[in-house]
Structure formats: structure tokens, C-alpha cells
């Protein structure tokens, strides 16, 4: 192996181990910042030693032991050792010839708990939404500040400062490194799911031809969700969220046309839908439902996505089922956007007139005033009812409300197509 190959290999190993290192070290030192620094130090040590000694059989254990040794040194210096630390220190001292990767046997047992604690901390409500997203991507996703900056189109310094401030906020608020229990747990879990979903949406929205660098965020979110599903397998909404992300991602290749223009779901080439992801999404949804979570917010959205995924062609879509799911969703999260989506589903199940009635009821909604999908939906319904002049006007209005050039073109094309044979 050449030297550059070796360091690439060591870095890759370290990136795999990084979240676990931070999690375990945070429990050990009770200090998130210190944990991250110690993890970085362990990488330096690995780059120094492994080229000579070879990569250890259990690199994660080696890194953890090395970091803990260093932590003990630091704690000793500031006289902050407690009994557990002293005990470990004695153990490490007593066996100087034992390989570092043979010493840390606790690694696998504690790992799950530590990772769960870590994600609850990085998503703590004392942090702003931006801070939660950034810190989670950094410490659990293992993204560098540069990668996060690039994904969110922000300057690197902004992201770096955000990370520093977030850690400081957590320290100052004395946020404990523990998994919440009881009633607090649901709320805190919702915060975690929200962060993951935010990352996903950031990446998903970006596939609309704005910047193809950012869709990797969808992969990061999916991965975090899958990890969480194994850390908290009894939580139905975790599986619900994973299902939603898998199913949504399954359509990624079909969403964008050759000129980068967005393609509506019903017009997509279903041959380009990823069946592997659909299978995974349906399996995750089944897990959520088996746990009694069919009525969760994410599970319901996933169930809607599943209806589309199961239909071989658009005409085979079970629209009445989708309407029922939107009914349940609207009861949980009354929102004009959900109502609009429901109206569209109603029009597909019961005809455009029924849908138009519901859409018209939303016309006065202040929050939808600048939302281009409202007039777009209305235009489509009017078109289907043969009211072509009104339809054209609505599509033109929708086009004027969107800032995305490609989306505009699609809407203007639809305006032009009103009344002509499709």
C-alpha cells in the first residue's frame, strides 16, 4: 500500500468510527466539545502509529482506548477524575503491553445507548433549528464543516461558528447526556425526527434543478433515519419517517426531465422508480404499522406515498384510499397545504367538481397567498371541467408566483395547452 493509499484508508476508517467515538467519549468526559477534540486527536495518533504497526484488528476499539487514555491524562491534570475514571486508569496502567484494541470491550455494548443519547443531545430544543441540523450532520452524519457548507450553500466560517456556538449553548445550558424518558421522550423524539426530515427536504427540494450537489443530503438523512431505526426499533414514527424517505427517494430519477424541468408525479416514467427503495419503504411502513403506528404523522404520509408506489401506472392509483389517509392527516396536522393535497386527491377519486369545491374554500387562506401550487391545482381542475379560459388564467397566475424558471415554463406550457387535445 502506498503512503497516500494508507492515509486514505485510515481516514475512511476514522470517518466510519467518528460518531461512535464522539458518543462514547461524551459519556466518558461529559463534555461534547472535549469529546470531539479527543476523537480528532485519536485520528492523529492513528495516522502516526498505524503505518508502522499496521491497522489494528479492531480499529474502533483502538481509537476509543487511545482517546480515553488521553482524556484521563487531561482530567488528571485538572484533577477532575472520579472513581470510574480512576478505575479505568488503573486498568490501562496495569496492562501496558496489551494491544489498545483488546482493552476496550465495552465498546459494542454501550454503543447503541451512547449513539441514541448523542442524537437526543444534538437535536436538543435549546438549540435553534439550524444549530440542531448542523450539529447532527457534523457529529452523527460525520460530515465535515466544508461538506455541510457546500450542501447548504453557506460559507464555511458560518457553519464552523454555528458548530462552536451550538456546543457552547449545550454546555452553558448543562444539557445532560442522557436519553429522555416518559412524556418528554415523545417530544424530544419528534425533534430528532424533525431534524432528519429537514435535512431530507433540503436535499429533495434541491433536486428540482437548482443545484445537483445537494441531493446527497437525502442520502445523509436516509442513513441517519436507518441508523435511528436500529437504535430505537420500538418507535413506530421512526419507521414511518424512514418509510417516507425511502418511498420519496424512490422517485428521484423520474422527477426531473431532460431539460432539468420538474415532472409531476402522475406524469413520471414509473420505470425509473427505484424498486429497491420502494421495497424498503414498504417494509419500513409495515414495521411502523405492526407497532401500532399507522396513524402517525410520518406513517400517514408514507402510506400515501406507498399508494403511489404500488400503482404500476398512474391510472391504477387507489385514490379513495389516499383521500382517507389525507382525512386522517388533516385531522392530525390541520394545514392548508394538507387540505390542498387532499382536494387534489378528492378530485381524482370523486371528480374535478368535488375537488374544485374544496380548492375554492382555500382561496381565502392567507398562508397560501403566494403559493403557486394553489392556482396550479385550480387551473388543472378547471381544465378538466372544460372551463379553459379560467384554467389558462390560473396557470398564468401560478407561473407568476414561482421563482423557479423551469417550473414557470411548465406552467406556461400548461396554460397554452388548455383546450387543445393532450
Amino acid at each position: 500500500m502506498t503512503a497516500p493509499d494508507r492515509s486514505r484508508s485510515i481516514e475512511a476508517i476514522w470517518r466510519i468510527e467518528f460518531p461512535r467515538l464522539v458518543a462514547g467519549l461524551t459519556r466518558f468526559t461529559r463534555d461534547l466539545s472535549a469529546a470531539e477534540d479527543l476523537a480528532q486527536d485519536a485520528l492523529v495518533a492513528a495516522l502516526e502509529h498505524w503505518p508502522r504497526t499496521g491497522v489494528p484488528e479492531r480499529p474502533g476499539a483502538w481509537l476509543m482506548t487511545t482517546a480515553k487514555r488521553r482524556a484521563l491524562d487531561q482530567l488528571r491534570r485538572v484533577k477532575m477524575l472520579d472513581r470510574k475514571h480512576e478505575q479505568l486508569g488503573r486498568e490501562l496502567d496495569e496492562r501496558p503491553d496489551t494491544r489498545a484494541d483488546e482493552l476496550d470491550t465495552s465498546l459494542d455494548d454501550e454503543y447503541g445507548d451512547d449513539m441514541l443519547r448523542l442524537i437526543f443531545v444534538t437535536c436538543h430544543p435549546v438549540l435553534s433549528s439550524d444549530a440542531r441540523v448542523t450539529l447532527t450532520l457534523r457529529l452523527l452524519g460525520g460530515l465535515t464543516a466544508e461538506e455541510i457548507a457546500r450542501a447548504f450553500l453557506a460559507p464555511v466560517t458560518t457553519i464552523e461558528q454555528r458548530i462552536v456556538r451550538a456546543k457552547r449553548t449545550l454546555a452553558e445550558a448543562r444539557v445532560p447526556f442522557e436519553t429522555p424518558r416518559g412524556p418528554e421522550r415523545d417530544e424530544r423524539l419528534a425533534s430528532v425526527l424533525n431534524v432528519i426530515y429537514l435535512v431530507f427536504n433540503e436535499g429533495y427540494a434541491a433536486t428540482r434543478g437548482d443545484d445537483w450537489l445537494r441531493p446527497a443530503l437525502c442520502e445523509d438523512a436516509l442513513r441517519l433515519g436507518r441508523v435511528l431505526a436500529e437504535l430505537a426499533p420500538a418507535e413506530p414514527e421512526v419507521h414511518g419517517l424512514v418509510a417516507l424517505m425511502e418511498l420519496t427517494s424512490s422517485r428521484a430519477r423520474a422527477r426531473v426531465g431532460p431539460a432539468g424541468e420538474p415532472v409531476l408525479l402522475l406524469d413520471q416514467d414509473r420505470g425509473r422508480w427505484d424498486q429497491l427503495l420502494i421495497g424498503r419503504g414498504l417494509a419500513a411502513l409495515a414495521r411502523a404499522e405492526a407497532l401500532g403506528g399507522a396513524r402517525g404523522v410520518y406513517a400517514l404520509q408514507a402510506a400515501i406515498a406507498a399508494c403511489h408506489a404500488r400503482a404500476r401506472v398512474a391510472a391504477a392509483t387507489e385514490w379513495t384510499r389516499i383521500v382517507a389517509l389525507y382525512d386522517a392527516l388533516a385531522a392530525l396536522v390541520p394545514s392548508p397545504v394538507v387540505e390542498l393535497n387532499r382536494a387534489v386527491a378528492v378530485s381524482m377519486a370523486f371528480g374535478p367538481a368535488a375537488g374544485l369545491e374544496l380548492v375554492d374554500a382555500l382561496a381565502a387562506e392567507a398562508s397560501l397567498a403566494g403559493y403557486h401550487l394553489l392556482p396550479a391545482a385550480r387551473g388543472d381542475l378547471l381544465d378538466r371541467l372544460g372551463r379553459f379560459d379560467e384554467a389558462r388564467a390560473e396557470f398564468a397566475r401560478a407561473a407568476s408566483l414561482t421563482r423557479n424558471a423551469r417550473e414557470q415554463k411548465v406552467l406556461l406550457d400548461r396554460a397554452a395547452a388548455c383546450g387543445t387535445k393532450r
Binding site: R15, D211, V227, R253
Partner: protein, 145 residues
């Protein structure tokens, strides 16, 4: 990105020799780790080539040839599909695999084509924008140092 990890066949896998209980346990543990890491998308073992067949194409001609097939080294015994940040990550995970056939084994890793490889989502304007952005990022990073 996605990577396919192919378990190459050898005379044991072709003979249908079942792995030992210890090997099965180790492999189960390994698969669990892959799932817990969030990278496991799919994976399975394949029956020996004596259970399989080939379709040979020559122009318009199609010939079905039943297994077994002779060139063991070229055959496959199983596969995984992993979702990873980069190829090196897949390599490191693959190194952690318990020896899949007990003795001499080969894992072959192959990255999937991504949509961006086909360039069909990358219009000239997007490509130019991405290049500008990448240049900007490099300049920012350089200015920092």
C-alpha cells in the same frame, strides 16, 4: 453512492458446502453491523451454478446453457448492495467482513452508475454553475489558510 459487493465463488460454494455454525454467526453479526450503520440496502446468497443457467446471445440467436459452469473463479456466490459516502468507505467495510467462504475468498466491489454520470440531469447551465460554486469554495478555503 451505491456499491455492489460481490462474493466470488470457489470450489466450496460451488459444491454447496454450507458454512459452519461459527461462520454463520459471524456473518449474521457482520450483517447486523451493516444494518446498524445504515448502509445495508440489500444482500443475499446465491445457489451454486449447478442450479443456474446462462442465456448466450449471438446476434439474433439465443442459446440456453444449464449450469454448472467450469470457470469457478469467474462465478459469484452472493452479493450486497451498500449505500456509502464514497468508495473508500465501502472498501473499509468490506475488509471487516468475516472471511465469507472460510479460506481463500474474494470480494469484488463495483460502484453503481449514478444519474449524474449520465449527465441527463446536468444541463450546461447547471454544470457551469456547479463549476463556479466549486471554484468559489476552493477560493474561500484557500483564503482561510
Amino acid at each position: 453512492m451505491r456499491v455492489m459487493v460481490i462474493v466470488k465463488a470457489n470450489k466450496d460454494t460451488e459444491a454447496g458446502i454450507m458454512p459452519s455454525e461459527q461462520m454463520l454467526t459471524e456473518m449474521t453479526n457482520y450483517n447486523e453491523q451493516l444494518v446498524k450503520a445504515g448502509i445495508m440496502l440489500a444482500g443475499d446468497g446465491l445457489k451454486p451454478s449447478s442450479n443456474g443457467a446462462r442465456i448466450e446471445f449471438s446476434g439474433k440467436k439465443r442459446t440456453v446453457v444449464d449450469g454448472p459452469f467450469a470457470e469457478t473463479k469467474e462465478l459469484i456466490a452472493g452479493f450486497w448492495i451498500w449505500q456509502v459516502k464514497n468508495f473508500q468507505e465501502a472498501v473499509e467495510w468490506a475488509k471487516r467482513c468475516p472471511n465469507p467462504t472460510g479460506e481463500e475468498s474474494v470480494l469484488e466491489l463495483r460502484p453503481f452508475f449514478e444519474a449524474s454520470d449520465f449527465g441527463d440531469e446536468l444541463t450546461p447551465e447547471l454544470r457551469e454553475k456547479e463549476q463556479r460554486l466549486a471554484k468559489q469554495m476552493k477560493e474561500q478555503a484557500a483564503a482561510k489558510r
